[in-house]
Symmetry: C2
């Protein structure tokens, strides 16, 4: 079949036959093709989450900079943001089920690329036990990709948002601000094709994020009191963790400013403040974690502040003792 | 807040606070509000599936007949079609995670109704162990409701599509054709408001389907060789089961024609053939099951044919020995 064929020219069965061979084999009791899949839940529990990408809300097929999001990018991002939620519980991802809503003029090749992006992301992010075990296909006016993801706690307690206690150490694992800088570059008018490699790498942090999947289980093993995925920006997500814990997070910008270094060139080019990307940028899918003060931080985490009594602070989250002027991303208001 | 407010006037947190209290309490290790939920998987396995409803593809906010799909209808249908996939494996539904994509002008009241419809459907269908444990909210041009559902096999083997053997008895549990007749009525030009109650009941079979949740586990306990959800019409789904089993299904219309009786009034009014609804209509979410010949059928199933050698039949599915002229629904081609 020629490259320019669209999904409107195939029925459901024919399209599934194009997708599933690209996803590899799922080593599960029942994989794709039946009414439902069956996965192992070795410790008698299953972690589960769901996340959606909507065209023109969460990604664009064509950006102002001229960059075109490939199916590979969208498949990668779908896998990455879903497995990140499992990572944030201290668990290991075990399966994905995917629902695709496709406009009839979507090229079949785009859908095949999406399957490749899903599989490659799971492999390169280190989610080796995680496979696509099922899915659903339908038609719609815009592309919508939803995945539900499961995880295995390997006998450990889940690390919740609610366990931070005054005196605990606040830490970050992974990067901050890179995906936000990348978003600004993609939405800017400087042509993507002419950007130097270090700026293209920031754009890639937006379109193919790299959640640090080794760090979630490692933090759980190290006795983290609380943890969450930073998907909507450090300040907004720290506020959620603080609220869930009934405590305040006092962040120290001196410990955060090294995250600005890789963003300075993009900030200069766009006339932006890199501090806003560090504090307010989401979608890097790093981890915000809180550890008891006596324990050393596990490898991969950096100390960024401490947990305080809520009553002793002017806000749920402070930076250098002040209320930050950065809000971050509201998924719904956009 | 007044009834006419739209979701564009709320942020994610405020909207979630409107939805979650209506969903009841989930008796699970970790419920809504963290990065992911944690559910019990008592026999060391979890059944999982995903299904999406897209506005103007799977439901209409306003039909030609004047009927308006409520949020309650869409919530009910989302719950029903998802738990049906778990039922078809012989399992019991244990949790739902829901992703909602909402246009900004969606009334908040519509979303609250949807939550009510989800909860009421789970209760009235008998999915007592199943609760909504998590979700995701986002914006988009049309309403898209995706749910992933989990189930518990209670120590039994899953009942797959692939186990039918020549000589087995083919049976149906639940209704056939009612949802298809209801769809034709909703899309017809006769005003919904003026329809007699028995026709409005057919429309309800489309907007609030009633999958027979007791029958899936019962069929598994009775030793069913194969089973699936009839979501795309008896003939199409029977073809899938036949193909998965490497066998043919020989159906006997004499055993099916009693399904026509409740459809005759609608067929007469619309000039339709009720046989097409019985053989080709999906979305009742009844069960197609195959039992060994020696066993009696469990209560709730009716005998509709037998499994034959594929080589001995002119097609994967025959009705009274002939290839049926009814295709059923392709989710993707629509």
């Amino acid at each position: 079949m020629a490259e320019h064929h669209t999904v409107a020219q195939l029925d459901e069965r024919a399209l599934l036959e194009r997708i599933f061979p690209r996803l590899g084999t799922a080593d599960v009791p029942v994989g794709p093709g039946d009414d439902a899949a069956v996965i192992e839940a070795p410790d008698g529990r299953t972690v589960i989450s769901i996340d959606t990408l909507v065209q023109d809300q969460d990604f664009r097929l064509e950006w102002a900079s001229g960059y075109r999001s490939s199916g590979f990018d969208v498949g990668w991002k779908c896998a990455a943001q879903n497995v990140s939620d499992i990572n944030a519980m201290g668990a290991v991802p075990t399966s994905l089920v995917i629902s695709l809503t496709l406009p009839g003029n979507t090229p079949v090749r785009w859908v095949e690329d999406m399957a490749d992006g899903l599989r490659t992301a799971l492999h390169e992010l280190g989610a080796e036990r995680c496979a696509v075990v099922g899915g659903d296909l339908g038609r719609g006016a815009v592309l919508v990709v939803t995945a539900a993801v499961t995880g295995d706690l390997q006998g450990r307690a889940p690390v919740l948002r609610s366990g931070a206690r005054p005196g605990d150490v606040v830490a970050v694992g992974g990067s901050l601000g890179r995906a936000a800088a990348g978003l600004a570059l993609l939405e800017g008018t400087s042509g993507y094709g002419g950007m130097p490699p270090e700026l293209q790498a920031l754009a890639a942090a937006q379109s193919r994020p790299l959640p640090p999947l080794a760090l979630g289980p490692r933090a759980a093993q190290a006795g983290a009191h609380a943890m969450m995925d930073i998907s909507d920006g450090l300040i907004r997500d720290a506020g959620r963790l603080a609220r869930a814990s009934g405590a305040a997070l006092a962040l120290d910008y001196r410990r955060l400013d090294h995250f600005e270094a890789p963003l300075r060139q993009a900030a200069l080019m766009l006339g932006a403040d890199p501090r806003h990307w560090v504090l307010g940028g989401g979608e890097d899918h790093g981890l915000l974690a809180v550890f008891p003060p006596a324990a050393g931080l596990p490898e991969g985490f950096v100390h960024i502040g401490s947990v305080a009594e809520a009553a002793a602070c002017p806000a749920e989250v402070t930076v250098d003792g002040e209320v930050p002027d950065v809000l971050g991303w509201d998924h719904f208001k956009g």
